[in-house]
């Protein structure tokens, strides 16, 4: 049942030092939790359990409280981004042109859901709302590569290019 981050935590001592400095700088400011979490995400790219635990230990607040905030706001990521960031547009035009089934197919092939990352750190998957290419709907992106008018059958081939 627990949402294990599929990618092992690879935080460095240097990152931890930076985080501790941020906490030391902000800890006496009222309402410091969110700014600290934002800066932590800048440092690590996401907010894994280990990072939330450091924040909790340092501020002497329950770790669950940090997690509650992290899951309340969409801007906080619990999973790292992969080498290849796959995103599928679920905006109106793409959606009516069938990006839903495309998104499902990608989830099936990669074995991960929205906002997650494959255990090898290669692919992460996100949905987005309109990339300004409605004429090409449905659209998916892998990093900066845009693929338009895609069908479910083409998904496998596209992903294989990045292996």
């Amino acid at each position: 049942m627990s949402k294990k981050a599929g990618v092992p935590f690879k935080g460095t001592k240097e990152q931890e030092k930076q985080l501790l400095e941020v906490i030391a700088e902000l800890r006496d400011t009222p309402g410091c939790l969110m700014p600290i979490m934002q800066r932590a995400q800048d440092i690590y790219g996401y907010l894994p359990y280990e990072v939330q635990k450091i924040i909790s230990d340092e501020l002497r607040i329950p770790a669950e409280k940090v997690y509650g905030v992290a899951t309340f706001y969409a801007q906080f990521n619990l999973n790292p981004k992969g080498t290849y960031k796959v995103s599928v547009c679920l905006g109106t035009a793409c959606y009516v042109k069938g990006s839903g089934p495309v998104f499902e197919e990608i989830q099936k092939i990669l074995g991960i859901g929205d906002g997650e990352c494959t255990p090898d750190g290669k692919f992460s998957l996100d949905t987005c709302r309109c990339v300004g290419a409605c004429g090409l709907a449905p659209v998916m992106l892998v990093n900066d590569d845009v693929y338009g008018r895609i069908t479910v059958d083409q998904v496998k081939g596209i992903l294989e290019k990045y292996n």
Binding site: S2, K3, Y49, K53, P62, E64, K65, Y67, T71, L78
Partner: protein, 584 residues
């Protein structure tokens, strides 16, 4: 403080400045309904059951947090108010799994009561998707079923603010919000201390203790088993509430009669073991003081506190008394001394305990709690579970005669019975230790400084040549405050009593449910504690060392307090735990 005058439903009321509308309405004999509100710990105005109209206000306001002011006009029962409250209930029902017939809280569910009061039966009105939820039964003592959760956050407040534990919280947002743990770790994997204060705070059947009444009934029905039951001090101070009595009613005699009628072979008292604990713990205290042992010595009767210490103050586990809790001491003696006396093989003996506590369910399965090669205690029930057994068996509690406990493990002193209230263990220990240290009989037996429901109490006593400084804390957030002082070197106590639940065991997580509106207005802790102090006041023997059956136990079997045999049976070890895990 100055008073302000306002009108509630056209009736003039004078209320202290700074009061809320909810408080002022009570002065006008009006109870405004609440669900999420718990005084001091959950004043968040979130559930919107308490809405009222205030003349001149743009919208309905939440009475639980809205302060009164001079000349204010409040209306608590207009059609607009009623309609809003009804709609709130309907919306709550639309995401509530309505399993009311068999629900453990049916009859004392606050949501059910309000729906009945407001005639809300149209549960189909807002029918639609239900938030996804899973049952978490990973902890030793409880089950959480979020399909009955109304997101009032009372459990979260109890866990974080009252207990300083904070392993549960609200995750995600909007329709997907649920009460859970960090990264959806199972509750049993977190540093939850099993205190059950979340259960006591829950207005519905979303959180409840793991029910072992079936196991108890099965053991009683098994002709091969000899089933002995022990009841903790605080159970008698609350059990009668389950049968309609006022808070603060002594139910001891009827409880004993009911246990006998349930078919237990022997009905004994944990108070006996509390007296035993005092001799062991008192001796340990004296030895540590005399021989330069680790001080302060901290009591270890409360398994919620012990687990909290292991998780949050692992560097202080050496301060914990090595004494087992009275529940476990009872089991260890029952399966040795008593079994031998009665000629019953220990394997055939089943020890059932009735406790005001859910952490006791965790404690019976701890390591090193099986002194005789079999578990000291087999089944730990809460006060609520015992009441359930009595009801299921058709025993008419209120019509029962008052009966007494069986011999020999049913005899107790006033010192044993006050274990159930905060400060009680401290007082009982002082009644023993002072006599041992001074070698003189104690004159004044009441140690009033350590009584009362304040979260932290301190006192100092001149005992012979020694100046003994003591402190008492109940509720783990208070314990944390006290321990931080000790760690910072700001206090040098020799002896500290800590109870996991605020007010001590009388207010334990396994006690009869008290609805929010009573919790908010009645000092439940003091009322229940008064039962125990009254028993103590009228007891023939008020010092543990005067318990004739305890003397006999040492003479015939254990030798001396703190001796080798006592050590083997009655003492235990602790482990160092961490807060949650290091990594996922």
């Amino acid at each position: 403080m100055a008073n302000v005058t306002l009108k509630i439903n056209n009736v003039e009321v004078s209320a202290p400045e700074g009061s809320t509308i909810l408080e002022a309405a009570r002065l006008a004999h009006i109870e405004i309904p609440t669900l999420c509100f718990l005084k001091d710990i959950n004043e968040i105005g979130a559930c919107r059951m308490c809405v009222v109209e205030v003349k001149g206000a743009r919208t309905l306001v939440t009475a639980c947090v809205y302060p009164v002011n001079e000349g204010m006009e409040v209306f608590t029962n207009t059609p607009k108010v009623m309609e809003s409250r009804k709609k709130t209930l309907q919306l709550l029902l639309s995401i509530h799994r309505q399993d009311c017939l068999a629900c453990v809280r049916s009859g004392n569910c606050e949501l059910q009561t309000l729906c009945k009061d407001y005639g809300v039966d149209n549960s189909a009105r807002y029918q639609g998707a239900m938030p996804a939820s899973e049952i978490d039964d990973s902890a030793a003592h409880m089950v959480r079923d979020n399909s009955k959760c109304i997101l009032c956050r009372r459990c979260i407040a109890a866990c974080e603010k009252t207990q300083g534990v904070g392993v549960i919280g609200a995750n995600e947002r909007g329709f997907n919000t649920y009460v859970g743990q960090i990264f959806d770790m199972e509750l049993g994997e977190t540093s939850c201390v099993s205190c059950g204060q979340c259960i006591a705070a829950c207005p519905t059947g979303a959180i409840y203790e793991k029910d072992f009444t079936k196991d108890a009934f099965a053991a009683i029905a098994d002709p091969d088993k000899f089933v002995v039951v022990q009841t903790a001090p605080a159970v008698r101070a609350a059990i009668a509430e389950e049968f309609g009595a006022e808070i603060g009613t002594n139910g001891e005699g009827k409880m004993v009669a009911a246990l006998r009628r349930l078919g237990f072979d022997k009905v004994f008292d944990t108070n006996f073991a509390a007296d035993l604990t005092i001799l062991e713990e008192g001796t340990e205290l004296i030895e540590r003081i005399k021989n330069g042992g680790k001080l302060p010595l901290i009591t270890s009767c409360s398994p919620g506190w012990v687990k909290y210490c292991e998780h949050y103050y692992p560097d202080m586990t050496e301060n914990l008394s090595s004494c087992k809790s009275p529940q476990q001491m009872f089991g260890a003696i029952a399966k040795s001394y008593l079994a031998e006396k009665l000629g019953i093989p220990k394997e055939k003996m089943v020890v059932v305990s009735v406790m005001p506590c859910t952490a006791k369910k965790f404690e019976i399965n701890r390591d090193d709690q099986a002194a005789n090669g079999v578990p000291d205690v087999d089944i730990a029930l809460t006060t609520r579970e015992l009441a359930r057994m009595i009801k299921q068996s058709g025993i008419k509690f209120n019509e029962l005669p008052d009966e007494g406990f069986d011999d020999p493990m049913g005899e107790y002193t006033g010192a044993g019975v006050i274990f159930g209230a905060t400060g009680g263990v401290m007082e009982a220990a002082l009644r023993y230790a002072v006599e041992v240290i001074t070698g003189k009989e104690l004159g004044a037996i009441d140690f009033n400084d350590v009584r009362g429901t304040q979260g932290i109490k301190e006192a100092a006593y001149q005992v012979g040549d020694l100046n003994v400084k003591v402190a008492v804390a109940s509720g783990l957030a208070n314990a944390r405050e006290l321990l931080d002082k000790v760690k910072a070197g700001e206090a040098d106590y020799q002896f500290i009593e800590i109870m996991g639940c605020p007010g001590g065991c009388v207010n334990g997580g396994g006690q009869p449910q008290v609805p929010g509106y009573i919790r908010n207005t009645v000092d439940v802790r003091a009322k229940r504690a008064s039962v125990l102090y009254n028993i103590d006041k009228n007891a023939k023997n008020r010092k543990s060392q005067d318990n004739p059956q305890i003397k006999k136990l040492y003479d015939e079997y254990l030798g001396k307090p703190g001796g080798e045999k006592a050590h083997h049976l009655l003492h235990t070890k602790y482990v160092k735990r961490q807060v949650n895990k290091d990594q996922m």
